[in-house]
C-alpha cells in the first residue's frame, strides 16, 4: 500500500512540476514560422523539382533573371536582370545583369552562372524543363541558343517567334533559378550534373540561405545579410512539417506558428471567425475538372458530355467545400487573364441532364466507373456528382484511390481531379486542355489533358491556340483567347471545368507582406511582423 501511495505521489509531483513551468514562448517578432505538409517535397534542386512547397523554398534561396510581383502576376519586373531587350524579329532576348550580386558561397554571380543554370535545366530534361523546352530549346541547340556574351550580358535565342511575355514568364519560374556554377561543379559526383548535391544543399544568391533541412520534419532558412536587395526583416524562417490540419489550426490559434498552409475546409471555417487570423486565398492556374474518356462509346456522345455539365451542383459546392478551394468557373481561361469570361452558363439541373441522356439514346440511363482521389475537396465533389448523377438515372460506381496513373494511360471511364500550372497565361492551360496533335494510343502524349481524355480536339481550335501563343500584339491576343474560350465552351469538351483552383492559407494578423503567389514563387523577403 505504501508503495502505491509513493507512486501516485510521484506522478502527482511530476504533473505539478509540469504546471509550475511558465507558458512557452510564442514566435519571436523577427522569425517567421510556417506550418506545412512536407510529405510531397522531393528535394531542393531548382532544375529538378516540380512541387508547390519546395518551389516556395527554392524561390527564396535563389534569384532569377526576372520576377512577377504577387499582386500583379502579368507584370514582368527586374530581378537579377536590370533591363532586357527583344530583337526586332522577336526571337532574341538580351539581358543585362546586375554587377553587385554574390552567392551565399561568396562567389560573384555573373552571366556565366545564368547561362550554366538555363542550359542545365534544358539538358537535364526533367519535369520543369518544359518551362524552356516548350519554346523550342533542346539539349542539342541550347549551347548555341543560350550564351553569356560577357560577365553581365546573357542572350537567349529561340528558333521561332513566341509572344515575348510568355518567354519572360518562363524566366521568372523557380526552375530558371540561377545556381552557383563553380560550387555545383565542385560537387559533381559521377557525372550527375550536381543533382545529388543540389537536392539537399543551397547554391543560391537569394534573400535566405539554407541552414537545416530534415525531410518531413523541419527546414530552417536564415537571412542572407549580403543580399543585393537588402537583408530581409525576418532573421529566420522556420518551416515545420505538420501533416495534421487540426494541429496546424490549434498552433496557429495559440500563436506557435504564424502561417498555416493546406488546412482542411472545416478548419478554415473554424478560423474564419477569429479576428486575429486572416484567411488568404491565392488563385492558381488550373481547374477542378471531370474527364470523360472519349474511347467510351457512351461518353463520346456530345449530349452525354453536355448532360454532365448539369450534374454539378455549382452553387451548393461553392457555398460548402469549395468556399476556400475554388472560384466557380465553367470556361477555360482563368480569371484575370486575356480572354477570360465572367459568364457561367450552366446550372445544376438533373432533370435537364436526364432529358439530354434520353435524347442521346439512353432513356434508361447507364452505368460507368468513376475514379477519384480520396482527398479534400476532390472526393467531396466526386461524391456530390455521384449522388446527382443517380437522380438523372446515371449510375456512377465511385472508386476511391490513386488513379492518376490510370488517367495518364487512358484506363478509366470517368475521372475527376484538379490541375495546376505555373505560367500565368491562358496558354499554360490551353496547351494541355485544348491541344492534342495525335490522338492515337501509340502517340502516348500522356502529358496532355486532351490526349488523356482521348479528345480529338477540333483542328481549328488547336490552330488558334498555337496562333495565340505566337501572337505578339496584346489586343489581338485577347481577342484570340476570347474566341478560343467560347469555342471550347461550345465544343462540349470532355474536360469539364467547374472551379478555378484557389490555394488557401491562414495567417496571424501580426504577419504582413506575405502574399501567396500564383506561380508558386511566394517571397519571404518583404515579410514583417508587428511586435
Amino acid at each position: 500500500m505504501i508503495r502505491t501511495t509513493t507512486l501516485i505521489g510521484a506522478a502527482m509531483a511530476a504533473l505539478m512540476a509540469a504546471q509550475a513551468l511558465p507558458a512557452l514562448a510564442k514566435t519571436p517578432s523577427d522569425q517567421l514560422v510556417i506550418g506545412m505538409d512536407m510529405s510531397s517535397m522531393r528535394g531542393l534542386d531548382p532544375q529538378e523539382l516540380n512541387q508547390f512547397e519546395a518551389a516556395e523554398i527554392v524561390a527564396n534561396l535563389y534569384d532569377r533573371l526576372v520576377t512577377l510581383p504577387a499582386d500583379d502576376i502579368t507584370r514582368v519586373e527586374p530581378m537579377l536582370a536590370t533591363s532586357w531587350t527583344v530583337s526586332e524579329d522577336g526571337k532574341s532576348f538580351t539581358f543585362t545583369l546586375r554587377d553587385d550580386v554574390v552567392f551565399h558561397s561568396g562567389n560573384p554571380l555573373t552571366a556565366r552562372d545564368a547561362e550554366y543554370s538555363l542550359r542545365r535545366l534544358v539538358k537535364l530534361g526533367l519535369a520543369p524543363a518544359r518551362d524552356l523546352t516548350q519554346w523550342g530549346l533542346t539539349a542539342e541547340n541550347v549551347d548555341q541558343m543560350i550564351r553569356a556574351t560577357d560577365d553581365h550580358t546573357l542572350v537567349v535565342e529561340l528558333p521561332e517567334v513566341w509572344n515575348s511575355d510568355l518567354v519572360l514568364y518562363s524566366l521568372a519560374s523557380f526552375s530558371t533559378s540561377v545556381v552557383d556554377s563553380a560550387l555545383v561543379e565542385e560537387n559533381i559526383q559521377d557525372g550527375d550534373s550536381g543533382r545529388a548535391f543540389l537536392q539537399t544543399a543551397d547554391a543560391g544568391s537569394g534573400p535566405y540561405t539554407l541552414r537545416t533541412w530534415r525531410a518531413n520534419d523541419l527546414l530552417i532558412a536564415e537571412a542572407f545579410e549580403d543580399y543585393w536587395g537588402g537583408a530581409p526583416a525576418m532573421t529566420r524562417v522556420l518551416l515545420r512539417h505538420m501533416p495534421e490540419s487540426t494541429a496546424q489550426r490549434l498552433q496557429l490559434e495559440a500563436g506557435d506558428i504564424d502561417i498555416a498552409t493546406r488546412l482542411s475546409s472545416s478548419d478554415l471555417d473554424a478560423l474564419s471567425g477569429n479576428p486575429e487570423i486572416e484567411i488568404q486565398t491565392t488563385p492558381g492556374v488550373g481547374f477542378y475538372y471531370i474527364a470523360l474518356n472519349q474511347e467510351n462509346e457512351i461518353l463520346a456522345n456530345p449530349k452525354v458530355r453536355e448532360a454532365f455539365r448539369y450534374l454539378i451542383d455549382y452553387d451548393g459546392l461553392a457555398n460548402s467545400v469549395m468556399r476556400y478551394y475554388g472560384r466557380m468557373q465553367q470556361t477555360i481561361v482563368p480569371a484575370g487573364m486575356p480572354g477570360a469570361l465572367e459568364e457561367n452558363p450552366y446550372s445544376f439541373d438533373p432533370a435537364r441532364a436526364k432529358e439530354l441522356i434520353a435524347e442521346a439514346g439512353y432513356p434508361d440511363g447507364f452505368t460507368l466507373t468513376y475514379y477519384a482521389t480520396p482527398v479534400t475537396p476532390e472526393y467531396e465533389i466526386a461524391q456530390s456528382i455521384q449522388a446527382n448523377a443517380a437522380d438523372a438515372g446515371i449510375t456512377l460506381d465511385l472508386q476511391a484511390g490513386d488513379h492518376i496513373g490510370d488517367f495518364r494511360e487512358r484506363n478509366y471511364e470517368v475521372f475527376s481531379a484538379r490541375t495546376g500550372e505555373r505560367l500565368p497565361d491562358p496558354h499554360a492551360v490551353l496547351q494541355s486542355y485544348a491541344q492534342n496533335p495525335d490522338n492515337s494510343r501509340e502517340a502516348n502524349l500522356a502529358g496532355l489533358m486532351a490526349w488523356r481524355a482521348a479528345w480529338d480536339v477540333p483542328a481549328e481550335l488547336q490552330d488558334l491556340v498555337t496562333q495565340a501563343a505566337h501572337e505578339t500584339d496584346p489586343a489581338r491576343r485577347t481577342e484570340l483567347y476570347t474566341t478560343i474560350n467560347r469555342m471550347y465552351l461550345e465544343s462540349s469538351s470532355p474536360l469539364i471545368t467547374s472551379f478555378q483552383r484557389l490555394d488557401a492559407r491562414a495567417l496571424r494578423g501580426a504577419v504582413d507582406g506575405y502574399q501567396g503567389h500564383t506561380t508558386w514563387i511566394t517571397s519571404w523577403h518583404d515579410v514583417t511582423k508587428a511586435e
Binding site: G125, A127, T212, A215, A247, Q251, T419, A446
Partner: protein
Amino acid sequence: MTATLSRAGPVRRAWLPVLRKLGTSLAVISTTLLGLLVITFVVGRMVPADPVLAIVGDQADQAAYDRVYEELGLDQPLPVQFARYLGDVLRLDFGVSHITKNPVALDLARVFPATLELATAALIIGTLLGVPLGVLAAVHRGRWIDHIARVVGLLGYSTPVFWFGMMAILIFYARLDWVPAGGRVELYYEGIVEGPTGFLVLDAILAGEWEVMRSALMHMLMPALILGYATTAYISRMSRSFMLEQLHQEYILTAQAKGASRHAVIWKHAFGNMRVQLLTVIALAYCGLLDGTVLVETVFGWPGLGQYLTTALFFADMNAVLGAVLLIGLISIGVNLLCDIVYRMLDPRTR
C-alpha cells in the same frame, strides 16, 4: 593418428555444440531477415502508389516520366531489382531515399534515436506503473484497487492512442497551455544540440544546455505519458493474471503455512516465479513501441521511425521502406536474444 584424434576429441566435442548453435542462430536470423525483405519488396510493389509521379508531378510529359522511371531502376524485372538491392545491402549500402534524398542509413540514424528515446520513456512508465498495479490487483482481487486496475486497463486497451493524443493537445496545449503541441524541442532550440547520441535529452545534458533539455523533456511528456499509459494497461493486465496464476499454486500455501510474511509470499515467492513470463511481456511491449508508434508520432509531430516508414510506404519509397523494415527485424531479433540471455539468468531450468 588415432592418438592425435582422441587427444583432440574432447576439445572438439566441447566446441562443436557452441559452433553449431551459433551457426543455427545465424542461419535463422539471416533467413528471417531475407524472408522479411522478400515479403516487404513484393508488398511494396503492390502498393498503388507511383514513385515516379510523386517526383515528376502528374502534368509531366512521357519523356520526363520515362527518364525518372529508368533512373529509379524500375524498368528492370522485379527479381533483378531485388537482386541488385540485396547485393547493395550485403555491402552495407541501403540506397538513397526518393523522398529525403539522403542515404537511408543516414535517415535511420536520425529517426531511430527519436523513437528509441520515446519508447524507452514509455516503457519505463509502463513497467513502473503496470507491474505494481497488476500485482496489487491480483493480491486484492475483487477489492477497490482491482476495480481501479480493471478500469485503467480497459480504458488503456480500448481507447485509440491518437484520440488520447488529440484530447491531450486540446486540453493541455490549446486550453491550459501547459505543454507544447508537438515536435521534439522548441523550434528556436533546433540545431543548438546535435549528437552525439541522437537522444535529445541526453545530448542536451552532455552539452550542458539545460534550457534545451527542459524543452525536450516537456515535449516528450505528453507522448511518453500516453504511450506509457497504453503500456501500463497492457502490462498491468498481464501482471495481474500471472500473479493470480502463481497465487493459486500449492507452493504459496506451503509458504504461507510455514509462516512466511505476506510481503515475502507475494514479492519473493510468487513474483520470483512470474518474472520470466513478465519479461516476455515487457520485451513484446518494447518491440511494439520501437517499431514506431505511427499514430502518436503523427499527432505529436515526433520525427521517428513510425512516421518515416509510413510516409515512405505511402509514396512507394522502396529503399526507405526496406531499410526501415530491416531495422525493425533486427530490433525484434535483438530484443528476443536479450530476453533469452536474461531467461538463462533468471530461470535455472533453461540452462
